[in-house]
């Protein structure tokens, strides 16, 4: 098996250091592949995205770190969806999403999109244009963590 990268490795990836404020946000993308072994058991692996084709599932991992001397309050991470990627899910990270290009935000279940004729339908994962996480508490000095979401290459 070629270059199987588990998330642990992703988390150890050195942060994207920015000296000015000492808060770093690092972005990594993996391809989620399913392999079936001889016993028919399925294994899901995260691989480096060496080959990416339509239909592939991508896992976006965002690592953040507060390497500064002050807690980082009102911490908000925003990730616009690449246009060629259809949002799938964000695991259990419960992000806010936008389905209108970043104008309005909410949990996906609470959002709707307009249809022709003036009515609205419930928003689907495919409608998501932005993903956003807002933190209730400040990131303490030295605090780190990560967030993830999945998308499918259109």
């Amino acid at each position: 098996m070629r270059t199987v990268l588990f998330l642990l490795l992703a988390m150890l990836t050195p942060g994207h250091a920015l000296a000015a404020n000492q808060v770093a946000l690092d972005n990594a993308v993996f391809v989620e592949r399913v392999s079936t072994d001889a016993q028919g058991k399925q294994k899901i692996l995260l691989e480096e995205p060496k080959v990416v084709v339509p239909g592939d599932r991508l896992v976006f991992v965002l690592n953040y770190r507060n390497a500064g001397a002050q807690p980082a309050d009102k911490f908000v991470i925003t990730n616009p969806m690449p246009s060629a990627v259809r949002f799938a899910d964000a695991g259990d990270t419960r992000p806010f999403v936008s389905v209108d290009g970043g104008k309005q935000w909410g949990l996906l279940a609470d959002l709707s999109v307009p249809m022709e004729g003036g009515s609205r339908r419930a928003a689907q994962p495919a409608d998501v244009t932005h993903v956003r996480w807002a933190f209730q508490k400040p990131i303490p000095v030295g605090g780190t963590g990560n967030l993830m979401f999945r998308g499918v290459v259109k």
Binding site: F6, L18, F60, L147, V153
Partner: protein, 333 residues
Amino acid sequence: MMIAPVGGAKHRLLPSYSLIALLAAFALPVQAKAAGTRAGSTISNTASASFDTGGGTTTIDSNRVDLLVDELLDVTVDSSNPADVPTTPGATGQLLTFSVTNNGNGVEAFGLTTIANAGGDNYDPAVTQIHLDNGDGLFDAGTDTLYTPGANDPSLNPDQSITVFVLATTPGTVVDGNRGVVSLLAAAKTGTGDPGDSFAGQGEGGGDAVVGSTGADGQDAGAFIVSAATVTLVKSAVVTNSLGTTDPVPGATITYTIVATVAGSGSVSGLAITDNIPADTSYVPSSITLGGSGLSDAADADAGDYNGTRINVALGTVAGGQTRTVTFRTTID
């Protein structure tokens, strides 16, 4: 802008095993139906973070990750003939129509081949030519391009289809009801294989070419059905004379009846019944009938005529299961 903080996002390390377990809970990748993102395009992702460390809101960007989209090789072939195409024994230029669609995400050329001897039918149509449609969907040997493998393999854009015409000859030995199947195969010129096989650097836009769920080749079958008809003629004669007997004495009248029976699922065209007037008899003028109705002796608008030596009745096209009855009379000299 923010409505409320999100409860689930806490700054904690997500243990790797829990994420792996989480991944396992989700469904298998789903293949995109349409061709999808064009091969060679780049997927770029950048996230941003905003926060306040005491001196007002600061916004930073993450690193940018660029992914090159590789070429997916996928093709489907569909028969455009909803039902078996009727043919007749020995017929040439018999037409089957197919549609070849590039389901991949890059421009790809496809090699075309046919299989006519796969079995499961009654005979093997002899494929003579493959033509590439000029875009109107109708076969015309004058305007559609004759396909030569390797020379003019059709190159299709993502999601583009081309209509392909397969011409075949029906063997003369087939009989009514026989079925002959021809499959058209299309295979990506870059390569075929098992889904996931890849051809390094051979994709459009500089990436790899990856075999998709179709195996980068596809095929579908079309079929001919032989629709033939056979004609059986039965001739009978009845003699009447002035004696009230059936003896063929001079002056007796012979009424000939010819019944043409067409059998089979097809039809016969240009069917005509001709019968010479026997020696030592004389034709009774205006005695030809077809289906009980009289016909004139002249070669005119009606189907029958008498030219001095024979009668002729033109029946035209008669479908299987029908009969035609012709009568005429002569007198014994």
